[in-house]
Amino acid sequence: MASVALSEAEKVYIVHGVQEDLRVDGRGCEDYRSIEVETDVVSNTSGSARVKLGHTDILVGVKAEMGTPKLEKPNEGYLEFFVDCSANATPEFEGRGGDDLGTEIANTLYRIFNNKSSVDLKSLCISPREHCWILYVDVLLLECGGNLFDAISIAVKAALFNTRIPKVRVLEDEEGSKDIELFDDPYDCIRLCVENVPCIVTLCKIGYRHVVDATLQEEACSLASLLVSVTSTGVVTCMRKVGKGSLDPESIFEMMETGKRVGKVLHTSLQSVLHKEESLGPKRQKVGFLG
């Protein structure tokens, strides 16, 4: 569920634990829960990934569709984000209940991808001003067990890594009319370089310390958190304070440093998992929701 109600005693227990660098589930403050990542789970998408972080369960599907480039960027394609907070996660999301949260997350995703280095948008252009690829990145929130942003950003990165865009050729005849032709070989496709795609590290201020990858219970004890989007080289591309409480500048710097440090490790392990999975090739037994 998106939030839980905790008694005062429970809160005190969690806060004190964090101060001792010992969290309820036995982790230290900078430890992530174990993350399960699997790509290519939805076969009719261009790329997909499922990420399970504790009880948080995210499914991302990327669909490449052809469209026209934006006027201000005639030789680039672009990404569109949509986050669906499914009623599966909690009955509160039924109907339009999840829309606000969905929009908030989508906007955050737009912001962290809003810089040139994250994805090479030029490679998505087919013919300037006329045709380009639009990548629809659709996030489906299936279960919610805290630390949504981190899980979603990991899933998005994994899905983009998995994305394969068909190669097309633009044919032009004497009259200047253009036609799109598909390559005959289905193996011939464009892949995105996700080296610079950042991940979000959310740092939750609990008491005087901050923790990464907070559970729902821990989130309930936190007054404010800081979202830091970090690339694999440790560059911070975006930062945002969320939550109803306030943070002093000093702790923000402290948290940013932690974010960078944790983020780099996160990237490295994600990268290795993705490559390992890829090396298994198409014969890999897919697990999906059956495992």
């Binding site: 569920m1 939805v42 009719n44 949509f82 499914s86 599966n88 039924e94 919610c144 067990g145 929701f289």
Partner: protein, 245 residues
Amino acid sequence: MAGLDLLSDQGYRVDGRRAGELRKIQARMGVFAQADGSAYIEQGNTKALAVVYGPHEIRGSRARALPDRALVNCQYSSATFSTGERKRRPHGDRKSCEMGLQLRQTFEAAILTQLHPRSQIDIYVQVLQADGGTYAACVNAATLAVLDAGIPMRDFVCACSAGFVDGTALADLSHVEEAAGGPQLALALLPASGQIALLEMDARLHEDHLERVLEAAARAARDVHTLLDHVVRQHVCEASLLLGD
């Protein structure tokens, strides 16, 4: 050249099945920990998740509570990436609402609602990938989820679609077969009694053929039942093993 031959002279369908054969069905119960019941099903390339919350207090307006039975609340949602062409919104469109209503009718007929008066049972289904027969997959997934939640039912609800091509009834239509525009029938069956929980048909079909198509759908639904029953038994076995330790 005209479209595909949906049924070859040798009796094979586009994907290699024979007329009465189901697609490969795989299912799992208890996918999520937080919900009261959950299940996942794959029927070929159609993949659906179902989650059940309840029975619990009526959410929202108390006036909706029913004095003699539980309120069954269903929402059908289909992921934006589930279809060939991307969907703009996952739910709230006319088709999703209609699906939700159909599911509700189906499960009101199967769940022993009178055991939980003044309460509510939520069934949420989420289609992850659509390749024909989404209604059937949703019903089958929801049945497993309701069972997983331990909510008493009269019987399994097993659903399957059927179509009609060149004088032959085809069971469990895939998207290509549905898109061909022939008549299609969706059937939800309570297999033990043979009662029909929901029957719906689109497109014209001559009365003379109805019986055969219905028969094909019912036979397929019974096959589905055998498979689901197996899944449930397996799940219970595993669960009891875990509990036993």
